[in-house]
Symmetry: C2
Subunit: 231 residues, 2 copies
Amino acid sequence: MSGSPRGKAPQMAIRRLSMYYRTLAALREQGVESISSEHLSALTGSTAAQVRRDLAYFGSFGRRGVGYEVHSLQTHVQKILGIGEGWPMALIGVGNLGSALLAYDGFPRQGFRIVEAFDSDPRRVGTVIRDVVVKPMDQIKETIQARHIVMALLAVPAKAAQGVTEQLVAAGVRCLLNFAPVTLKVPPHVHLASVDLSIEVEYLSYVLRESVAEGQAAEGACSDVLRALSG
Amino acid sequence: MSGSPRGKAPQMAIRRLSMYYRTLAALREQGVESISSEHLSALTGSTAAQVRRDLAYFGSFGRRGVGYEVHSLQTHVQKILGIGEGWPMALIGVGNLGSALLAYDGFPRQGFRIVEAFDSDPRRVGTVIRDVVVKPMDQIKETIQARHIVMALLAVPAKAAQGVTEQLVAAGVRCLLNFAPVTLKVPPHVHLASVDLSIEVEYLSYVLRESVAEGQAAEGACSDVLRALSG
DNA sequence: TAGATTGTTAATCGATTAACAATC
DNA sequence: TAGATTGTTAATCGATTAACAATC
């Protein structure tokens, strides 16, 4: 059974499974029928040992001496991750970022659809974006409960995020993907993931300075950086 | 010196430093002058030991028996991360997501500004968004070199991402924040971070199913999920 | 001094890597 | 059989946690 872990898979292993899944889907489109852990790791920036280890948390899906059958492995990973069940999602906040999320075609392609959108701005309420009618915030609870929505994307300003989160939790949401640059507090039964642009950019800023300090940079590229660094 | 690590800080420690920084900035606005590792950890979802350990990679910024002076600690963390130096960034791809990134006020607030934008669509070239004129792709190299830009945000379709990356690397870019759902190949002196929405959503999908399977859910909330899961 | 809190070391925990027997 | 590649175990590596001496 795909769904019964042997031991506990690290969070990072799950994220790598997503990459394997995407790559397997692409391979299938190209008509590739079989693949080795070595090759799959090269395509995903992982290592062969890691690919096999990650999969082994959930079962054995390959054949020794042969490799993995692309279609079969893709199906297994899909089941492990719960993709393709048509998970309905709610979007809160239809500003620039929220609109971009509504338009993002990666979600429907993986079986996740934004079926409801909410905003506190009366000028946005009632507008239709990608077939979704923007509703006012006070309809969050009844809508989410009526449609049995358990996943929500939070694209509201930082100051509003915690308040909206509490509304969503009260409405029964179990998974929250937060885009606001704040640390949200949620009860233990609610799962939280965050996309934090400042953290990503600041991390790059740090590693850049570190690599320059260590003199790891290639000469050509380095001169540019040093010029930039020295203003 | 803030910039000279004792031992090597884990990647996750750097990301936590970003959270500390943001929280310290907020505390300062509220007029709070002093804080303990215990309190700071509560505000950032970390632990007190972790806060002290993370900071200790870079120096000792507090006073035993007293705690940390908010302003001073903020300044130290700012220097460690390289924030506030006015890093200029380039944005490639001005679709829905790219436009949202141009409008994102978290970047300028932390000292990172998008100063150039590029797109392959002639209808977008020449338009002005937030004071930035969208330029055609064939001007990437000369513009980036002329302005000594070392950081770029990649918001192009998955199929175009690797090609654009190679142009950016050839132009001297050292840090890349990728939003396209692909595994990019970059030379070792180029630093890469990725924001991958599918991975985040699929991770939540996985932990949701896992928690339901383990029966960890509270009864009330659970009934909703089970109803959703069983269609 | 007594109480508080840091900075740092040692102990624990967990994840990755390497190696190899199993097997196609 | 010989060559290839998995699944799994053991060894390594690294990060987190706990504890406490230093010190305000």
